[in-house]
């Protein structure tokens, strides 16, 4: 993609305008995410860069929104100070972790079955298993709202965890089946002929090899639950505050800059998760002997 030395003026113009265009698109993709970082340290109660903030005046900077988010209420804080954010963090982690564990175990076992050469109705089963990822969330939420209320599962954490598990499993199934392609089944035979039973073979031979796929699937399932707001809105009660639900409420009712502090934390979390998944993907490719060119 380098410009050769003999390029004509026209080619040069074309090349540089193409590069500028691409640069702008990357800017459009990535810059918005980082705008929130400095703004969360502003003392202004609105979502804007005040002139004082741009002149780097110390009074324009403050940590008060972070303190509010953490539930530390100082004397200088005039707005209502509640502990809803920390409650949201707690609930999000409870629901997220519980549904991740469920989704990962169900999804991994199913992926093992799907990768067997003798699987009947493979296409149909795959379509059903992936459907929670495909059906628009609003339809899923509507269906669950009707059905779970008949079973008394709305307004409960159990209902929420079940719903999020269903939404997370497709990601586990997809990532683990992807890791299992090119899996050498002779390893299983070798292990069995050496006298290991099914469980031992699974934990000692299969698991270490598919672990990268399982972990990235689990991370996908976790972030799906952690970021999910539509289903929570429809089947959760006031008690089931999660981070996205609290942000939703914050955006609709009390537009408070605490949202920006929380957003900053979430951006940092997403960077951490992305790094982990990328490292795992490379490790998995190395393990399976797929060269990344």
């Amino acid at each position: 993609m380098n410009l050769p030395k003999y390029a004509t003026t026209g080619q040069r113009i074309g090349y540089y305008s193409f590069m500028t265009y691409c640069g702008l698109v990357f800017f459009f993709l990535i810059a918005p995410i980082f705008i929130v970082l400095p703004l969360s340290f502003s003392s202004s109660s609105f979502f804007e860069f005040t002139p004082e903030f741009m002149r780097f005046e110390p009074e324009a900077y403050s940590l008060k929104w972070y303190k509010q988010m953490l539930g530390i209420c100082g004397v200088d804080v005039t707005t209502v100070c509640t502990n809803k954010w920390m409650l949201g963090v707690r609930n999000s982690f409870i629901v997220g972790i519980a549904s991740t564990i469920l989704a990962t175990s169900l999804g991994t076992i199913a992926a093992l079955g799907l990768s067997r050469p003798h699987m009947p109705f493979k296409a149909l089963i795959m379509a059903i298993l992936i459907s929670p990822m495909i059906v628009p969330l609003i339809i899923t939420a509507a269906g669950m709202f009707f059905f779970y209320s008949q079973l008394g599962l709305t307004h409960t954490f159990t209902g929420l965890i079940l719903a999020h598990t269903a939404l997370g499993t497709p990601f586990v199934v997809i990532t683990v089946t992807a890791t299992l392609t090119g899996f050498d089944t002779n390893l299983i035979r070798a292990s069995q002929s050496l006298g290991a039973d099914t469980l031992r073979t699974f934990f000692k031979v299969i698991m270490p090899l598919i672990l990268p796929g399982v972990i990235s699937g689990a991370l996908f399932a976790f972030i799906t639950s952690f970021d999910e707001v539509v289903v929570v809105l429809f089947i959760g009660s006031v008690e089931q505050i999660t981070i996205p639900k609290q942000m939703w409420a914050g955006l609709r009712q009390e537009i408070s800059p605490v949202i920006l502090s929380m957003a900053t934390c979430l951006v940092l979390l997403s960077i951490a998760l992305l790094t982990t998944v990328e490292l795992l993907r490379r490790r998995s490719e190395r393990l399976r002997g797929i060269k990344s060119q």
Binding site: V25, I33, E48, I125, V135, P136, I138, G143, M144
Partner: protein, 419 residues
């Protein structure tokens, strides 16, 4: 071949080999199925059944038949001319009087969809009927005295569409149609025609978002596919990071940028491009919805495009240039046709996701940016017209299924890649 099977090769235990193989295969099949079974059952109960039950709701009209069973029975005998007979009035009177307040409330809401006015009439009657004794017939005149709408045949005729416990009325409503009292399909009154417009708007926004994603995504996918791996891996992070960032965070960020005193407008004012008093209205309208959705869905366009472009050998372009084609011509004739599978996969994916969007239009769309998903949510939570929300959801589901079927034919659903 047939000779061998007929003569029957036997295994050591004396069973024909064919049968023995079949048995082993069946065992393998059952084992594979058993592994998938837990998840399949789980998805069936937590996901498939809820959606199925929602769909049955979209044609279900039995509730009102259960509240007024006798009235609807005698109603069917009525010739639909003039006012109904005393018998119909009397059964209606008794059933309104006997039903619980909750049932009456729910049933009258349903009746109100057929003709507005029923709800207030039933509510008022429920209150006033208490004073009239059950043995105090005939009731016709007394009921008309309570509310003169009881004497209007229009209201009685409107009940006709509810006699059947299965109804397609909600589906008709979803396209601004309804039944008249003789069960002919007619247009909704002018002021209630919103859904056809919303469907068109939903398609329009989704098409525009897909188009913009393609315009922005194609060049950068090309760049990513042609750069050496160490640079493209770095740039790929720019595509993947938004993908991993919370949807609500991205919406918050766009609010910071697009609002009247937001980053974008401030920048334009400071650089003198627009005057301070006519800052652009970029949020709470369709423009806002399209801008934000484009940024959110761009990774879904780039990833499939990139994976297709990665497989196009650079030698094709070199050959075309070598044979004397201008770069643009070579691109148009050689590279573009090769990348079509990526365009269709990415375009389809973005379109399908966009069409069911709920959160983004709800938060940044304002009144003018609402899509069909928002109406489903509105009827679910606010008006409690669940039949209509189920019907709208059902139609959306059918559209999605058809689109995914096409997508599956084009690329195969199992080829969906993550990150």
């Amino acid at each position: 071949m047939s000779e061998i099977t007929n003569s029957g090769i036997l295994t050591t235990d004396g069973i024909p080999l064919k049968e023995s193989l079949k048995k082993a295969e069946r065992k393998n099949k059952i084992r594979a199925l058993l592994l998938v079974a837990p998840l399949l059952l789980f998805i069936f109960f937590t996901f498939v059944m809820p959606i199925g039950s929602m769909l049955t709701r979209s044609t279900d009209d039995s509730y009102i038949n259960n509240v007024f069973p006798k009235t609807f029975k005698v109603y069917q005998k009525w010739d639909r001319v003039g006012l109904p007979s005393e018998e119909i009035y009397a059964t209606m009177f008794l059933e309104v009087k006997q039903a619980s307040g909750f049932e009456i409330g729910k049933a009258s809401t349903r009746m109100n969809y057929a003709k507005s006015g029923w709800k207030s009439m039933i509510k008022k009657s429920k209150r006033k009927f208490k004073k009239i004794s059950e043995n105090d017939g005939p009731f016709k005149d007394k009921m008309i005295e309570v509310d003169k709408k009881w004497g209007d045949p229009e209201y009685w005729l409107a009940l006709g569409v509810m006699v059947d416990p299965t109804t397609y009325e909600y589906y008709l409503n979803s396209f601004d149609k309804k039944y008249d009292s003789e069960k002919n399909i007619i247009d909704q009154p002018e002021e209630r025609r919103i859904y056809t417009k919303t469907w068109i708007k939903t398609f329009k926004v989704s098409i525009l978002v897909t188009f913009f994603c393609l315009m922005l995504g194609y060049p950068i996918s090309y760049l990513l596919a042609t750069l050496p791996l160490k640079y493209s891996n770095l740039l790929m992070i720019c595509v993947l990071l938004p993908f991993w960032t919370s949807l609500l965070v991205r919406i918050v960020v766009w609010m910071v940028i697009l609002q009247q005193k937001g980053v974008f407008n401030n920048f334009m004012v400071i650089s003198g491009l627009i005057a301070d008093e006519n800052r652009w209205q970029l949020m709470y309208n369709q423009t806002g919805t399209i801008i934000v959705m484009t940024q959110i869905l761009l990774p879904f366009m780039v990833l499939p495009l990139y994976s297709v472009m990665k497989t196009i050998s650079p030698n094709y372009m070199r050959a075309a240039l070598n044979l004397g084609a201008s770069p643009l011509h070579a691109f148009w004739k050689i590279y573009m046709p090769n990348s079509v599978p990526g365009i269709s996969a990415g375009g389809m994916l973005v379109f399908v996701i966009a069409i069911g969007y709920f959160i983004t239009p709800e938060l940044v769309g304002g009144k003018d940016g609402q899509m069909i998903g928002n109406w489903i949510g509105y009827h679910l939570k606010t008006t409690l017209n669940w039949g209509l929300s189920a019907a709208l959801g059902g139609i959306l589901l059918v559209i999605m299924t058809v689109l995914y079927w096409i997508y599956n034919k084009l690329v195969g659903i199992e080829n969906i890649k993550l990150g």
